[in-house]
Amino acid sequence: MIKNSAVEMAKALSSNEISSVELTQAHLDQISKVDTDVHAFLHVDSEGALAQARDVDARRKAGEKLAPLAGVPLALKDVLVQKGIPTTCGSKMLEGWRPPYDSTVVSRLKDNGIIILGKTNMDEFAMGSSTENSAYGPTHNPWDLARIPGGSGGGSSAALAAFEAPLAIGTDTGGSIRQPAAVTGTVGVKPTYGGVSRYGLVAFSSSLDQAGPCARTVLDAAYLHEAIGGYDRMDSTSINAPIPPVVEAAKNGNVKGMTIGVIKELQGDGYQPGVLKLFNQSLELLASLGAEIVEVSCKYFDYALAAYYLIAPSECSSNLARFDAMRYGIRVGEGSAEEVMSATRQQGFGREVKRRIILGTYALSSGYYDAYYGSAQKVRTLISRDFEAAFAKADVLVSPTAPTTAFKIGEKANDPIAMYLNDIATIPTNLAGIGGMSIPSGLAEEDGLPAGFQIMAPAMKDDRMYQVGSALEAALLSKWGKPILDNAPSLGAR
């Protein structure tokens, strides 16, 4: 059962083939079995999850009409607060903190009867592309435990690939949902900015952060998207409009008559040949399904990475200022408030977080603001215009999700630039605030590891990603004859 899709699990629940308690327990058992190797979870809330499952079972028994995913378990990225449950953001800084409130995503999950198994590992404060920056040790890719599961949401993607949960929540500031999905053979969606409330999402970069669904199928992701999405008055940047019809689109995967734009700038040098080959095969499949493939150029994308590494650190330097030992989290040293703040921040933050805080502090400094933060904002506008022009020619845009398959743990740990380049294809959508999805495109011939196919849609047209994604997913599945994760080694045999 744990290898099924969430939709299949939901069906089994509603036909009383299995109870939510049984389903939840099966996943908790799988976590016990494999998570010593994978380390996807930072905190497993067995009791809370089972209590929630019992409640859903009782309500089902009482004949209550339940939400589509009621009773299905989920793994929550440790950057979203859940009342009473430790939330660390992968940082020592917040060790021991139990938030007194639920994020909007969590309250919506609870309202939908979705069972929260626990909190998943991540790069500290979502800064990283490998989950190696977690203060609690890295997560291992279920495809090869010596490799990274992507980041920052490596815990969520690894949990899906290791069948520890059929659904997960991620957050995506520059690719943290999509790149982990790509390197673990799973599905990840970054909705349009403002499509899912950020209330209770511990901010890394407020203007870029976006929570979204992670799953093993496009339809599962669509149901989860519908459960967590929509307007929230607690988030001023949340869009006050109906959620795009994502479930309907995922059910009716069809690309006939659609124009699909291939972004010229997101391929070529730096991309692994096997990854590009899979990308091109997917394009051929889409063409065979009746889509028209065109090439588009987004020339300002060359500046996207540079702009991102000014905007995100600038915002993070301010967002992370509140971690000062005065009200919550760890406290280091004694003496004056200033000394305690300084010692705590020195010890509580990891290297990458400090690097970005320093970078951002510098970029916002008077005299440098215009040259750095100001210019980066201009680039952001130009990238949005590039997208607008491209969407005038195509219904969706596509690219490989990440330039390579999963690399080895430790391989890029001391080379921040090489690490940053992993997000080259995912960052432009965050800068423009539009949606992006990654689905598996197959296993690269060089290393037999999964690669991702990225689909981007205009703002609030998220349904188009699901429409194209589910069509391609179905075509690839029939080509392969079995789900991609069936190729992954089985874990926990010891």
């Binding site: 007194p100 409130y101 940047t237 408030a337 200033e338």
Partner: protein, 500 residues
């Protein structure tokens, strides 16, 4: 050999800049739903948002925006069709996020003015104070530094933090550089804050209580040699918590600057703390190395873009200006200029108006508020409005005087009783047994007694020496324990002695 004020203004021209912070009287905070009532138990009016807990997000209080627009319109400002919040980044324990969400380079109201009148040797003179901007921001929490001698963070043993105030909506009203006031700079500063306070009170956007900190003034003062173009170095005096202090702080700083300049020393650009007791300032934070606040647009909030309809709607509800209102009241009450100025100075205009509205005679109402009540308030070191007596009490007393049921002397006892917390006027009259003796026969008995006691005086009066009657009237008043109407006594006495 301290300089006198006259020495200062003989040589230097003062230049002012005034920044007034006003706590808006909205029911909830700037970015969350927490209550804003003053004086609650520490840290009881807080939530994840105003505590800046990880993950929380601000949402702008629409009422605060409407209030700010109203302030801008009342100060003749343009209202920006598009304005933004920014983050002002600095570390301080009473600031939960270690940045203050504040408007910066895109304030909501710009370029206004306020005309104020100051009494000068040549009569009342109007000064126009130009307003640079009116912007919104959130207040910080409060730090209480325990131990140490200064009550400041340096030298304290530990500090207590109260976040009830964190996130209360603040409006900052900043003037342009104020020049041309000459020797009247202290009075102009005071008149500006006073006029501003009246406007804000009239708008109903704040309770404008300087002593509770809901209206705070920072006074920037600099001097330059008369005739010079270049501005001198300024100091910024904080903690100025009353109108009187505004005037004293400006005057004190002018003298301090002049003393430094005369000695050939330079004025240091810094914040100064004003001390109510001494009227002097002491140095605070130096601003020589300007702190870098790393302002940038607040990404968690969308721009404030009030529609033209909203602005016009607010404009239509603006009350009349205090200056217009004062003029109307002065005419209606027929008050001389000097008395009017006295009422404004004692801050009793609203109280008198409320008393008159309840039916009291304006002259009598003014007399009580400006006389007995103001006198006791002054003794207690509080404003008349803070006294435990209401316009209704005064109106009741005035009406009893008018109807002859109380004499002025008895009324004073009643007023004192109310102020001492003995109850409302009727209760006090009842309890103390205060009443005017108006029964003619009772008075006549007292008159007879007085004549019998002082026959020689009575004889003088009979012989036409009327002024001598005072002694007899006094005796009657004493006999009736002051409860008789002296005029009535006089009338009866003179008639009895054949002089009327």
């Amino acid at each position: 050999m301290a300089l006198t004020y006259d020495d200062v203004i003989a040589k230097y021209e003062p230049v002012l800049g005034l920044e007034v912070h006003v706590e808006l009287g909205t029911e909830s905070k700037m970015f969350c739903g927490c209550n804003t009532v003053f004086g609650a138990e520490p840290n009881t009016q807080t939530c994840p948002i105003c505590l800046g807990l990880p993950g929380s997000l601000p949402v702008v209080n629409a009422k605060a925006i409407e209030y700010t627009i109203a302030i801008g319109l009342a100060l003749n400002c343009s209202i920006a069709p598009y304005s933004r919040f920014a983050r002002k980044n600095y570390f301080y324990p009473d600031m939960p996020k270690n940045f203050q969400t504040s408007q910066y380079d895109e304030p909501i109201c710009i370029n206004g003015y306020l005309d104020v009148t100051v009494d000068t040797e040549g009569g009342p003179r109007e000064f126009r104070i130009e307003i640079e901007r009116v912007h919104m921001e959130e207040d910080t929490g409060k730090s209480l530094h325990m131990g140490g001698s200064t009550g400041r963070i340096h030298g304290a043993d530990y500090s207590l933090l109260d976040y009830n105030r964190a996130g209360i909506p603040l409006v900052e009203i900043v003037t342009k550089v104020v020049t041309g006031t000459g020797k009247y700079a202290p009075e102009v500063a005071r008149a500006y804050v006073s006029e501003l306070r009246d406007i804000l009170r009239g708008l109903g956007v704040s309770d404008v209580k300087m002593e509770q900190g809901s209206l705070r003034c920072d006074a920037n003062v600099s001097l330059r040699l008369i005739g010079a173009d270049k501005l001198g170095t300024r100091s910024e005096t904080k903690n100025v918590n009353s109108l009187r202090s505004v005037e004293r702080a400006v005057r004190g700083e002018m003298i301090r600057h002049a003393e430094l300049l005369n000695k050939g020393e330079r004025v240091i650009q810094e914040t100064r703390h004003f001390h109510e007791d001494t009227g002097l300032t002491t140095p605070g934070r130096s601003k020589e190395q300007a702190e870098d606040y790393r302002y940038f647009p607040e990404p968690d909030l969308v721009p404030v873009a009030p529609s033209a309809e909203l602005i016009e709607k607010i404009r239509a509800t603006l009350p009349e200006k205090p200056s217009v209102r004062r003029k109307k009241l002065q005419e209606a009450w027929q008050v001389p200029d000097k008395e009017m100025a006295a009422m404004i100075n004692a801050d009793v205009l609203d109280l008198v108006e409320a008393t008159v509205k309840l039916g009291a005679d304006p002259t009598r109402a003014r007399g009580w508020w400006l006389g007995e009540i103001a006198r006791i308030a002054n003794e207690r070191g509080i404003g008349a409005a803070e006294m435990p007596i209401t316009p209704a009490d005064v109106a009741e007393v005035v009406s009893l005087i008018t109807s002859g049921e109380l004499t002025d002397k008895l009324a004073r006892q009643v007023i004192e009783g109310v102020i001492n917390g003995e109850g409302r006027p009727a209760e006090i009259i009842e309890k103390r047994g205060i009443k005017v003796v108006s029964d003619d026969s009772a008075l006549m008995a007292a008159i007879e007694k007085a004549i019998a006691a002082q026959p020689d005086v009575a004889e003088k009066v009979r012989n036409g020496h009327v002024p001598a009657a005072g002694a007899l009237i006094g005796a009657v008043m004493k006999e009736t324990k002051g409860q008789a109407d002296a005029a009535k006594v006089r009338e009866l006495l003179l008639k009895h002695l054949g002089q009327a």
